[in-house]
């Protein structure tokens, strides 16, 4: 049988921290990398965080240099607004069809001056900011997003509703706005594929007893991250919906854990991080952490936990939690560790929801013809190995696409996938 000469390029799906790490490593080994990303920006979920545990390091400072490296790397071709349409072939010889949506802004001419935003007449909720503020139909998701080139949201732009509007094009001095751009479809030939599509959060509206969506000041973890972020909707001021600062807050762990059936491994730790967020901006605030089992594995995390505890929080083992309105605040009723029903009153509730696979996982699994597990994460092939091999040789699954995990483990898996690719080629 004729053995085909393997293609040497690699496809990485998802430009979050794991995808970026894998791409940079492969580039260092002089491999050509096609990095496709569904959204218009790189960095994934990690660029939404202001700080990361356990050193409270500034997340942007950690990511920006590698994002920049990514954009300037000659071996990496970044395709944003791109997804996989189809795959043919097998390990060593995959032909992948990429569908790339038009950005309507020329990435070479645009220098990121943002002059096109103001004139745009359309305002919609900003998804990146978890709906906490608005953006225009031509936008970058947040200040500092990379690549620093806006995109036109065809769902809301007036031109795509058959209305005449050239406001952004008129404002641009670089002839960067190009309404003639079209969605593209093209094929790439790669020897291996690394899937790093990340996670999404459990929809807390499915657990209405936490009050999300009905009560004003119940926030999900990502919403709270954006509230605290210095480039976020409030520029880092922690405030309630009406604008005043909370005097007390409760962080509820394990939201969605029962429903999903697994522990997401990062929530206890980022909840402690939130404790730090709150005490650093509001030193006198009273904080409660409601949890079932404290999950803080690892050599540095217990120390981090003790530090956060000392900073001032009350840890309550709680079950059967219910959040309801009580005057201007909220009352949380729960069963404590002695099985007694009790309650606390707080101004602000932050929910730590379970990590779910990215909503596109099922579709992508079908396209790539790889298995998913009972929780709809991509399924690893052999659990006595490192879990980065999918059910199909030559396709690797890393980061939260494979299962809920923290940044450290995602990065390790990305490097492991690279190791596997390079050692087999």
């Amino acid at each position: 049988m004729n053995k085909k000469e393997p293609f040497s390029d690699i496809l990485v799906v998802g430009a979050g921290i794991a995808g970026i790490q894998a791409s940079l490593m492969l580039s260092k080994a002089k491999k050509n990398v096609h990095l496709i990303e569904k959204t218009s920006y790189t960095g994934g979920a990690s660029i939404k965080y202001e700080e990361v545990f356990s050193n409270m390091e500034c997340s942007t400072c950690m990511l920006a240099p590698i994002q920049q490296q990514l954009l300037q790397d000659k071996n990496i071709t970044l395709h944003t607004l791109s997804t996989i349409k189809g795959v043919k072939g097998s390990q060593g010889n995959y032909i992948v069809t990429i569908e790339k949506k038009a950005r309507y802004v020329d990435m070479v001419n645009c220098i990121g001056c943002n002059a096109c935003f103001d004139p745009c007449p359309v305002s919609v909720k900003n998804e990146f900011e978890e709906g906490l503020n608005e953006r225009k139909a031509i936008f970058v998701p947040c200040a500092g997003a990379l690549p620093n080139v806006p995109m036109i949201d065809t769902e809301h732009c007036l031109r795509f509703k058959n209305k005449k509007c050239t406001a952004c094009q008129e404002a641009c001095m670089f002839e960067a706005i190009d309404y003639n751009q079209k969605d593209e479809t093209f094929d790439i030939k790669v020897g291996a594929i690394i899937v790093a599509t990340g996670f999404s959060l459990f929809d807390t509206q499915k657990t209405p007893h936490y009050g999300y969506g009905t009560l004003d000041d119940v926030y999900t973890a990502l919403e709270f991250e954006r509230l605290y972020a210095s480039n976020g909707p409030t520029e880092g001021t922690i405030q309630l919906k009406k604008g005043d600062s909370p005097k007390s807050a409760a962080i509820i762990h394990c939201v969605g854990r029962k429903e999903q059936g697994y522990c997401s491994s990062v929530c206890c730790l980022y909840s402690l991080k939130f404790t730090h967020y709150l005490t650093s901006k509001l030193p006198d605030i009273k904080i409660y952490n409601l949890y079932s089992d404290l999950c803080i594995p690892g050599k540095s995390h217990q120390k981090f936990y003790e530090k956060m505890k000392d900073a001032g929080t009350t840890l309550l083992r709680a079950d059967a939690i219910k959040v309801e309105k009580k005057g201007k605040s909220m009352e949380i009723t729960y069963t404590d560790e002695n099985n007694k029903k009790t309650s606390i009153t707080v101004d602000m509730v932050i929910l730590a929801p379970a990590l779910l696979p990215h909503p596109d996982t099922m579709g992508l699994a079908k396209t790539l013809d790889i298995a998913v597990d009972d929780h709809e994460f991509f399924k690893e092939n052999d659990t006595t190995s490192s879990c980065v091999s999918s059910s199909k040789p030559g396709i690797y699954i890393v980061g939260c696409a494979q299962g809920p995990k923290n940044i450290q483990d995602s990065v390790t898996q990305a490097s492991a996938a690279v190791g596997k690719i390079l050692s087999s080629s």
Binding site: E57, G298, K303
Partner: protein
């Protein structure tokens, strides 16, 4: 000296916010400035060609560009210099866009600042010296310290006809801790037999040299060029020496010994055994008490040693649940009680594994404190938790699940490679989040439990991640290009106090015992500048950030 200064309009971005003609007027009369011009977009093809032509036309010796952030186009303009035969380090970029035009609408202020920034760049560039890139040979071979699962996996993945692996193990056999586990969680897949298979593969691999009963005697050198000496621990204590390009420290962990904690009664009360004792017993085929009979009731105690060591060992809850499975299989009617503080079962499959282990004969009891005592021929566990002040349970056998401690005796490895040991005794990674398997010493990697307590799955991940790093940075036949902007110590001013040595976290500074001065290894130095700041007499300079360069830049900027 002929300095060419070029101000980019960046379209209207800079041109509309800064009065460029004013800037030109201010910069033209400066000493050594041969030409000052403006251009629409210097980073475009036309712009780069324009710069290239200008360098030739005016025979420029230095180049200054006032434009956007160095992050954007510093490399672009440096490349232009290099192409025109001008050393790329005789170039300076003044950021008059992100740091000037883009932050204010006041044109007067912006112009003033742009003038300062450009003048500062001109002042600085005069003190620049040409710097040359180096290329050094590297050895693709790898030293793997530790023959446990991490070391084995890394060796198998890395070994090849162009890369020899030297696998050094201090005990008499490969396999580490996991060779004693019959099965692994969460899938109860065979472990001991799997490891055995891997060990055979290692032994049969012609590119892996295995040294058992061997310890590291010395590690000298640096990334790409390490000189290793190893010594046998058994007579005749022969030594061997070889060269490698990278070192992987996969020295693993050992289970905490609860002997000294009297409340557990280990080594004092019969049938109180540790997890490792139990694994070995299970692997031998039969689970029995000391008297040979099977146990009718077993208690498994989680978190042994956690308070003493101060961290959660990540795997104990899971392997304690695995023990339930072992017991359920080999001694089916045994009553099993797990005593725990917080159940730590993170991951997509772990909770299911736990739930599947529950049953009629299995109890999970949360406790805050417990005491193990002998009670005639049984063992009594007295425990308390939030619900009850003091309760008792009588069992036949107690299995203690201790935390994992870092392997001891690594001081010579740590000293000679200059990697760090954290507070808990585990080896410190380069960056907690984005560089977990590399260390601050280039070319030295850590994998598995030497980094921190973790499961076999995570250990394999780390071992493969190390493989990824080594395969990308140590390529057979490829030379290493070290950092150009490195430190330099003046021999005449150094008094040999070794302050810089203590401050360097990359092990780039060594001490010359003959001359009694400190010396920088330019290949390892990463140019962080800590030593420059630490030297009390100012005997150290950082190339491209010398006192004069920085001083004159700042002086002009604040004039």
């Amino acid at each position: 000296m002929k300095i060419g200064v070029y101000i980019c309009e960046c379209g209207p971005n800079i041109a509309e916010k800064v009065d460029i003609d004013e800037v030109i007027k201010a910069v033209k009369p400066l000493d050594n400035v041969a030409v000052v011009e403006r251009f629409k977009l210097l980073c475009s093809q036309d712009g780069k060609q324009f710069l290239a032509d200008q360098i030739k036309k005016h025979e420029l010796t230095h180049l200054v560009v006032a434009a956007c952030s160095p992050r954007e186009h510093q490399q672009t303009f440096m490349d232009v210099c290099e192409q025109e035969g001008l050393n790329p380090y005789l170039f300076q970029l003044a950021n008059i866009r992100e740091q000037c035009a883009w932050i204010t609408d006041d044109k007067k202020e912006a112009t003033k600042k742009a003038i300062r920034l450009t003048k500062a760049a001109v002042a600085r560039v005069q003190y620049h010296t040409p710097l040359e890139k180096q290329q050094i040979e590297s050895n693709p071979d790898v030293l793997v310290i530790g023959g446990g699962i991490a070391g084995i996996q890394a060796s198998l993945q890395l070994a090849g006809p162009e890369r020899t692996i030297h696998l050094v193990e201090k005990t008499s056999s490969l396999g580490g801790l996991s060779q004693y586990y019959e099965k692994t969680f969460p899938d109860m897949k065979p472990c001991a037999s799997f490891i055995k298979g891997l060990i055979e593969t290692v032994k049969n691999n012609p590119h892996i040299n295995v040294y058992t009963n061997t310890e590291i005697e010395e590690i000298l050198g640096f990334f790409g060029n390490f000189e290793i000496t190893v010594k046998q621990t058994t007579t005749p204590e022969a030594t061997a020496a070889f060269e490698v390009g990278a070192v992987v420290v996969a020295t693993g962990a050992t289970p905490f010994n609860p002997e000294h904690i009297s409340k557990y009664g280990y080594q004092k009360i019969e049938n109180v055994i540790t997890a490792l004792d139990f694994e070995q017993m299970n692997l031998s085929g039969k689970i029995t008490l000391k008297n040979g009979k099977p146990p009718k009731s077993v208690a498994i105690i989680h978190c042994v040693g956690r308070e003493e060591k101060g961290y959660c060992s990540q795997i104990c809850c899971m392997y304690s649940i695995k023990f339930i499975r072992y017991l359920q299989k080999k001694v089916p009617s045994t009553k099993i009680t797990n005593f725990y503080t917080d159940l730590c079962i993170p991951g997509k499959s772990q909770q299911h594994f736990y739930e599947q282990s529950l049953g009629n004969h299995v109890d999970f009891i949360r406790m805050s404190d417990l005491q193990i005592t002998k009670q005639s021929d049984k063992i009594q566990i007295t425990y308390s938790n939030e619900k009850d002040a003091s309760k008792k349970l009588s069992v036949d056998m107690v299995i203690l699940s201790p935390v994992l401690e870092p392997t001891q005796g690594l001081s010579s490895i740590i000293e000679s490679t200059r990697i760090s040991q954290g507070e808990k005794g585990f080896l410190t990674e380069e960056h907690e989040k984005i560089a977990p398997v590399s260390t601050s010493t280039e070319g030295v990697f850590i994998a598995g439990c030497s980094h921190g307590p973790k499961s076999i799955e995570e250990t394999m991940s780390q071992a493969e991640a190390v493989t990824g790093h080594i395969l990308t940075s140590l390529i057979p036949g490829q030379k290493i290009e070290p950092e150009v902007k490195v430190s330099h110590i003046s021999e005449s001013f150094c008094i040999g106090c070794k302050t810089c040595l203590n401050v360097c976290c990359y092990g780039a500074i060594t001490f010359d015992d003959l001359k009694k001065v400190s010396v920088v290894n330019e290949v390892i130095c990463r140019g962080c500048g800590n030593c420059v700041a630490a030297c009390p007499s100012g005997a150290i300079t950082l190339k491209h950030f010398t006192h004069n360069q920085v001083y004159h830049e700042v002086k002009e900027a604040v004039q």
